[in-house]
Amino acid sequence: MTEQTHTSPAPATAPADTAAHTETRVSTIIGDRLCVGCGFNLTGQPVLKESVYSLLIARCPECGIVAPMQEYPILGKWAARWASLAAAGWLVVILAGAFALSMYTFAVSMAASEVGSERFGDYIASAYAATPGAGPSSQNITGFGVGMMNRFNAVDLDWWRAESAADHLRQAGGFRHIAAAPVTGFWISLLAVGLSGGVIGSVAMLHATRRRAAILMLLPVLVAVAIQTSIHVTRSTDLAAATYESAHSIARVELGAILFALSDMWMYAGMIVGVFIGRPAARWLVRTLLPPRHMSALGFLWIADGKPPPATRRTQIP
């Protein structure tokens, strides 16, 4: 091996040290190694041993930047770009999943508020028609269902404001019977989707503890709550400014907030359950269905929770 002693080019910042700083050539780079500064291929450049710490370095002939040999050779600019793109893609997938959950929560809660307020709307229309002096006038208002007794009949809001909504709800059969019963199917679907979302989320967000994942799962629900709130406020404002309104619209305003809140609650309850059973369920599935040679590739499911990863050697169940 050829050994030469070089005096390093004078760095601008430490001229006093330069005199004592010598570099000894120990070898030559024969593989691919790109300069970290300008990307120039350092093949053929000397490997130098610097005198202070005896570190092995190479110096780029183009830009003069020193590359320590202990570092991994960089893979080129596109490797880092692809890695960034993959990370950004993963983030987009997570955010898209959260957005889809928000939209599902919002859509189903809207359906629940429509369906859940139908019976109360019918009741309000019939109560209004049964009120002496009020019923006949409602038949003169144009709109869908004129002449028929249903929730689309227009109701004089002065009459409604003088009434107690809670009393009417009680007389109609109570919230559970008149509003909750028709929408339990929607709530079960929210619970099931929330459960699936929680399971997938707890596995996708492995860096997060269960408590943190449960808090993060609030994000899609909060987005849905924001949209629901704006819709409910708009409905209430419209109702406050109107003189006549359909019985269904009144019922939606009276029951909408609680139907929205209960829908969100079911969704989040499913998510919480999913977060807590997600990783154990995934580990059980992996242990049950995957041969050991594949199991080791999914060891991160164990490591994330501080558990010993599954054995890679052939193990038999049970």
């Binding site: 120990v26 070898s27 019977h177 590739a297 052939r314």
Partner: protein
């Protein structure tokens, strides 16, 4: 051109030095021709992570495939069992008559059953055989003796799923609404039919399990011999002859 790999002891670039298998450890080592210090090839974190991702992706797809197969076999067997119970109830024929009609085209009292039964029987037998082979090939990490009971338990759970869904979802929903939802599932004799069909599926699968185990061993032997051939080919190529 290979990626640069500098010996941290003497600075020689080991990029063109061939790695050799360690005599006792299952690793490949690169010995520096200048100083004799051994090192292993260091993979860049990006390359290492991407390979780890590919392995995990393969494992995830295998898991999805295994789960789909298991769910498919169980759902098919349970669906056939419930459909058979429904047929025997609707057409007022015994399971034995239905089976005879399927095998020997013997009149069972219903033209609809007669025309469909042979095809259903063929699908049922093929699915049960496939399930047995899958039990042999797909679950090599399970003891042979525990695979049939576990599959039997899974079959029973699959058959009971409609009843469990009725009990835990449909009934509570209707109870909240103040209504009663009557049971519409199989009767006691219907459950006997379900059990008989599932038992037939289980027996066929258990009988074909050894075929699956044999195929799994053949696949393992093939994989090992392919690996051995690849290693010896690499060694011959490295030794230059």
């Amino acid at each position: 051109m290979p990626i640069s790999h500098i010996c941290l002891n003497c600075g020689v670039d080991l990029a063109r030095v061939r790695s050799t298998p360690h005599p006792t450890l299952a690793i490949n080592a690169v010995v520096c021709p200048e100083c004799g210090v051994a090192a292993v090839r260091r993979k860049h974190p990006l390359i290492r992570d991407s390979r780890r991702f590919l392995r995990a992706r393969r494992a995830i797809w295998t898991l999805v495939g295994q789960f789909t197969l298991l769910a498919g076999f169980l759902t098919f067997a349970a669906a056939i069992a419930h459909a058979t119970a429904r047929w025997t109830y609707d057409e007022q024929v015994s399971l034995r008559a239905l089976a005879l009609a399927a095998v020997a085209a013997e009149p069972s009292g219903s033209r609809r059953v007669d025309s469909e039964a042979p095809y259903v029987l063929i699908f049922f037998a093929v699915a049960s055989v496939a399930a047995g082979i899958w039990l042999g090939i797909g679950l090599p990490h399970w003891r042979v003796i525990t695979r049939p009971p576990a599959y039997a338990a899974a079959l029973a759970l699959a058959a009971l799923t409609p009843v469990l869904a009725w009990a835990f979802f449909v009934v509570p929903v209707h109870a909240i609404a103040g209504r009663t939802y009557h049971y519409t599932g199989p009767t006691a004799s219907g459950w006997l039919t379900v059990a008989a069909v599932l038992l037939a599926s289980f027996v066929i699968s258990t009988l074909t399990l050894p075929i699956g185990i044999g195929m799994q061993r053949m696949l393992d032997a093939h994989r090992r011999s392919r690996r051995r051939r690849a290693i010896s080919k690499t060694r011959i190529a490295r030794s230059g002859g």
